[in-house]
């Protein structure tokens, strides 16, 4: 994430009660100088004394932190409203959009870690996390220096080893070391390129080149080189260093190639891509990749259905180019047995195909409308049979497909007694 600044010259001139507290720490340049002289990392509080909420508590907690004996030099960057953008860039060449944040810099000024507001405000947690990182600082500096002063695989190895000492999320913000890895080891013999050098845009960028047959390639559509792209992904995945979200990224790339293969084949066999999506979930179901893969698995899995309970269907329920069953819970709309009119009131412009309606009570189909199941319709009559228990779970099942990826298909659902 990055922060950049406008060059507006006005100041708001407001001061709410309790704001404008500060900390008695040196500014960043002086803090870095002290850190270098003392051979200690610098921990900088990046805040705004005239706008950060509860700034007085924040400052008081950090003042207390300064007497806690942490082997760091504490510094501050007070980014007040109206600060010139050029000043900010020179002070801390980082981009952050959620302040306050704490920034840990090695004694030589190299970036090592950043901490989100909830940790920055919780100084006990902050201290624990900082203390777990700073023992690596001397080795980090040594390896970084080696990376900068050498070349080829040796440079990439040193850079990668330096980044190994950091948390992965922080390593991905060390752009100078990542550049060294990408430049000095383009064939990824060290494994550090796939680990740190390439985020998803870089990965798909290289994949696209392979798919079209090289930098000047002209392959398109089903003629693209899917096998070479898959090989590129699998080679990266052999890298034992790839763990967690880094592994998930490359698995997502593999899933993408497998999906392209499926879409461009006659058999449309989804088994390989579904297996890969499952692997992504297994690595970590709670990461962005894990959550996304689970949703994609559900989307592509022919056996899954969309369960709709809220009287509204949205883009989450659409499938593009293939059908999926919906189970719409209408229990609250069914009061007594009889004939009901079930309607999909589409509100967006996408082309929605909806057919094959069935009425299910407690998971079993009990009635179907008189129309042909192949008929595409948004309104259908369904009969809730006599004897349906009052507290039964009543659903309308249908088969749906959205044929417009741009407009999407969304709208209201209604079940009214005729």
């Amino acid at each position: 994430m990055k922060t950049s600044f406008l060059t507006l010259s006005f100041l708001l001139g407001f001061a709410l009660p309790g704001l404008s507290a500060t900390v008695p720490f040196p500014e960043v340049p002086a803090a870095l100088q002290q850190a270098k002289e003392q051979g200690k990392p610098a921990l900088i509080l990046w805040y705004g004394s005239d706008w950060v909420p509860q700034v007085d508590k924040l400052c008081n907690d950090w003042k207390a932190l300064s007497s806690s004996g942490m082997p760091v030099v504490l510094g501050q960057f007070d980014e007040k409203t109206g600060l010139d953008g050029e000043v900010r860039k020179k002070t801390l060449p980082l981009e952050r959009y959620n302040i306050p944040t704490a920034v840990l810099l090695a004694p030589d000024g190299s970036f090592m870690a950043t901490f989100p507001p909830e940790v920055t405000r919780d100084t006990a947690t902050l201290k624990r996390q900082v203390l777990s990182i700073i023992p690596s600082a001397p080795e980090f500096m040594k390896l970084s220096a080696k990376a900068r002063s050498s070349s080829g695989v040796a440079a990439a190895t040193a850079a990668g080893q330096a980044l190994d000492l950091l948390r992965v999320s922080d390593a991905l913000h060390c752009n100078d070391l990542r550049k060294i890895i990408n430049k000095q080891d383009p064939n990824d013999t060290t494994g550090y390129r796939s680990l740190y050098g390439m985020e998803h845009l870089d990965m798909y960028g290289e994949m696209d080149i392979i798919l079209k047959g090289g930098p000047d390639g002209k392959l398109k559509g089903k003629d693209r080189d899917f096998d070479a792209a898959e090989a590129f992904m699998r080679k990266a995945l052999k890298n034992g260093k790839l763990k967690g979200e880094r592994r998930q990224q490359w698995l997502a790339g593999l899933y993408y190639v497998q999906r392209l293969k499926m879409e461009n084949s006659a058999k449309k066999d989804r088994s390989a891509m579904l297996a890969t999506l499952k692997q992504i979930v297994d690595v970590d179901p709670n990461s962005e990749y894990g959550k996304g893969a689970a949703k994609f698995y559900h989307y592509w899995d022919p056996a899954s259905v969309h369960v709709i309970t809220r009287g509204y269907f949205d883009t989450g329920e659409q499938t593009l180019g293939f059908e999926k069953d919906w189970h719409v819970d209408v229990s609250s709309s069914v009061t007594t047995p009889g004939t009901y009119l079930f309607s999909l009131k589409q509100m967006d412009g996408g082309k929605l195909i909806s057919r094959n309606y069935r009425l299910a009570v407690n998971g079993k189909v009990v009635s179907t409308p008189s129309i042909d199941p192949k008929t595409d319709t948004k309104v259908v009559e369904l009969t809730v049979p006599e004897g349906t228990p009052a507290n039964a779970k009543i659903e309308v099942w249908l088969t749906a497909e959205c044929r417009d990826g741009w407009m999407g298909c969304c709208g209201f659902i209604e079940m009214k007694k005729k």
Partner: protein, 737 residues
């Protein structure tokens, strides 16, 4: 509170400041009930409210108001008039149907008794028209607050964005998932944020019309969860929200390989808030601009998104009157607007209309009285009252519209229309385009004004436009076409041209002048009226800034760009007068332009350099200097530079036909270009006689024509085969005997 002198003015019909009484046929103040539904009221106001019969309430209000002096100075009549307006704008029938529910009836009763709340509702800019959406939003908020709405300005802002207004109805809201777009949730969210001290310091001072740009418009801005997410995850200095969009990565490809232009991009995350999905996974301009806007709004800073050609941007407003762009904004087509959709015109007007809280509040009170006067059958007094409202808020488009409606129905004459516009238009300083929009209501009468009257009115409009902030988003070509077409003869149209050029040549930053010049060349020069253009332009150019003058660099650059385009257009139109006029003006503005080379004159044709009328290049490009084209035809030299072509050419047209002795052509810079060259002459400008060809043209090429060569045009053409290339000369001097 309206002062006594104004009150006297309102009551004393004979002292109307715009002289309308002299021309508008008087309308009988008959006391006839305007609304047939109120013919025989059967319930009192109180009874009607209790029973939820708002048609009866309306009738009873009219009856009560008839017996009163309706004036904003009279608290009781103002109270009745305000409620009357709420019922009118919502629809008495609609309110009655809404009130059949006991709970909602109780809410309406509470609302009907709260004049201050009604004033906020009616003064929010857009007021939900003939729909229950607005009152339903208020009802749900009222219910959630157990009947004690703590923040009424916030509540009415939500009602306004959800319900829209007569000029901007909001049916699209009905398409949105109510579990994710909920005005009650938003109300409590903003209340909570304020209670925690997390809002911008200006937030507590925002009026309902400003809060519209904080609560967002549900059919265009994002879902509720996005606000909560942005409040939690984007926190930067107050003046930085124009950069908040960059908190997400700019990416056209999702983590799963899908393009942002397709339906699967957001599919993996479709049930999280749009804000969170974008912040975590990135997007392109549309998503990022919305993210920036919602981040500002979540912190109580007004913001909006705008559409631009092929792009989405946004604007944030850290203080009143100051809209700052994000991702290339704030100009463009807005979705959240009160008066005009096009920004900056729309927000400039809005800031002017609402800029003074006390005055605009008073203006609204006066407008309630105007409506009431009309309802009780007193149109003349109603019209006075509308004018009084406009004295307090002169640019309010809705007040103007009502006044115009009454003027038109009263039989407005062209002369009266002319006098009215001559007084009204100068009020629009800084909002020139709004003056044009304002006059649209009166178009049927303006058509019947004389050409001289139209010229004066349009002159005033252009004076206002000239003094208005320019923007790529506002162009005046259509306006110029429309106004030009209303004149009855060529002389009048030429006068219009002269006026338009003169109005803009010295004003603004040169943008509008450039548009006018482009229009003038297209309409006059290319329309076969080059002489008229020349005369009109010469007059305007006399007052144009010279190079020696103190002209801002940006403006000078824009002026030169405008002149360059116009000169090229004049060449293409083969208009020698327009060409000369424009070149002279361009040189006056820019000063002398050094030539691109110097002739050695080692060899030259017989005779002497001929006076030339027009230079024509087959194409132009960014390196061309059209203002220096004329000088290319002289011994002093100039500059010309075509675009890359297979066969670029340059043509010189003499002032008079004669015996052509020859020409000297000199290349400028990059002399390895322009190898194979052929010179032609012509007596008619269409038939070309080849005179000489070289395979490798020297830097300075002297061509001597055979004796007796007659003609008026000389052309040099370069042959680049299949590989397009530039051509550029410092000299193309034609000699005659």
């Amino acid at each position: 509170m309206i002062d006594m002198s104004m009150r006297t003015g309102i009551l004393a019909i004979g002292t109307l400041s715009l002289g309308l009484m002299a021309v508008v046929p008087s309308v009988a103040e008959t006391g006839v009930v305007a609304d047939k539904a109120s013919a025989i009221p059967t319930l009192s106001v109180t009874q009607g409210i209790e029973q939820g019969d708002y048609e009866a309430v309306y009738a009873a209000l009219v009856l009560e108001l008839k017996g009163r002096t309706i004036s904003p100075a009279d608290a009781e009549s103002l109270r009745l008039a305000t409620l009357l307006e709420v019922i009118r704008v919502t629809g008495a029938d609609i309110m009655s149907k809404y009130a059949t529910d006991a709970d909602k009836r109780a809410f309406l009763a509470a609302f009907a008794k709260d004049t201050a709340w009604q004033e906020l509702y009616l003064g929010c800019g857009l007021v939900p028209y003939r729909t229950t959406v607005g009152i339903d939003v208020l009802y749900h908020i009222w219910k959630s607050e157990d009947g004690d709405v703590k923040n009424k300005p916030l509540a009415v802002a939500l009602a306004s964005v959800w319900g829209g207004g007569e000029t901007a109805p909001n049916p699209p809201i009905l398409k949105k998932d109510p579990t994710r777009y909920n005005p009650v949730w938003r109300y409590h969210f903003f209340q909570g944020q304020e209670a925690k001290g997390l809002m911008h310091p200006n937030y507590k001072n925002l009026q309902p019309w400003e809060l519209r740009f904080v609560v967002g418009i549900p059919y265009q801005d994002w879902d509720d969860g996005s606000y909560a997410y942005a409040a939690e995850n984007i926190n930067i200095p107050w003046d930085q929200y124009g950069q908040a969009c960059w908190s997400a990565i700019y990416t056209g490809t999702s983590r799963f390989g899908d393009t942002v232009q397709g339906g699967l991009y957001n599919l993996p995350y479709s049930m999280e808030s749009v804000g969170e999905t974008t912040h975590r996974n990135g997007g392109v301009c549309g998503a990022m601009s919305h993210l920036g806007a919602v981040a500002a709004m979540a912190h109580g800073i007004p913001a909006f998104t705008v559409g631009q050609p092929g792009h989405c941007a946004y604007g944030v407003r850290p203080e009143r009157g100051k809209w700052v762009g994000g991702f290339g904004g704030p100009d463009g087509g807005g979705q959240n607007y009160i008066f005009i959709q096009r920004y900056p015109t729309g927000y400039l007007l809005m800031e002017t209309v609402f800029g003074q809280d006390a005055k605009v509040k008073e203006a609204y009170k006066v407008s309630m009285c105007a409506r009431a006067l009309e309802a009780v059958g007193k149109p003349v007094a109603a019209m006075s009252m509308w004018r009084a409202a406009l004295e307090l808020s002169p640019l309010h488009p809705f007040f103007r519209k009502e006044l115009h409606r009454m003027m038109m129905s009263g039989g407005l004459t062209p002369d009266a229309c002319f006098r009215y516009l001559m007084e009204a238009i100068p009020l629009y300083t800084g909002n020139g385009f709004a003056s044009v929009d304002m006059a649209q209501d009166l178009a049927p009468v303006m058509e019947r004004m004389s050409d001289e009257q139209k010229l004066q009115v349009y002159g005033k409009m252009h004076a206002m436009i000239a003094g208005t902030q320019s923007s790529w988003a506002t162009t005046c070509g259509e306006l110029l076409d429309a106004q030009h077409a209303t004149f009855s003869n060529d002389a009048a149209r030429e006068s219009y041209l002269s006026m338009a050029l003169s109005a803009h040549v010295n004003a603004g930053d040169g943008t509008t002048f450039g548009q006018v010049l482009e229009w003038a060349v297209k309409t006059f020069v290319q329309g076969g009226k080059a002489e008229a253009f020349g005369k009109a332009f010469a007059k305007a150019a006399d007052s144009a800034p010279s190079a020696a003058g103190d002209v801002d660099k940006d403006k000078a650059k824009k002026m030169q760009e405008a002149y360059s385009k116009a000169i090229v257009a004049a060449e293409q139109a083969r208009s020698a007068p327009a060409f000369k006029t424009l070149v002279d003006a361009a040189l006056k503005a820019a000063g002398a332009i050094p030539p691109a080379g110097k002739l050695s004159l080692a060899d030259k044709p017989a005779g002497s350099p001929a006076p030339c009328a027009l230079f024509r290049s087959s194409s132009s490009c960014q390196w061309d200097t059209p203002a220096a084209h004329a000088a290319v035809m002289t011994l002093a030299g100039g500059k010309c530079h075509s675009d890359k072509e297979k066969a670029p050419s340059f043509i010189v047209e003499l002032e008079k036909p004669g015996e052509l002795a020859g020409c000297i052509i000199r290349k400028s810079g990059n002399t390895e270009r322009m190898k194979k060259a052929t010179v032609y002459t012509s007596a008619d400008g269409a038939t070309w006689m080849k005179k000489e060809m070289v395979q490798d043209m020297p830097t300075e090429w002297c061509v001597k024509f055979p004796a007796g060569t007659q003609g008026k045009w000389v052309k040099v053409e370069f042959d680049n085969g299949d590989a397009p290339q530039f051509a550029h000369l410092s000299h193309f001097v034609v000699y005659t005997k």
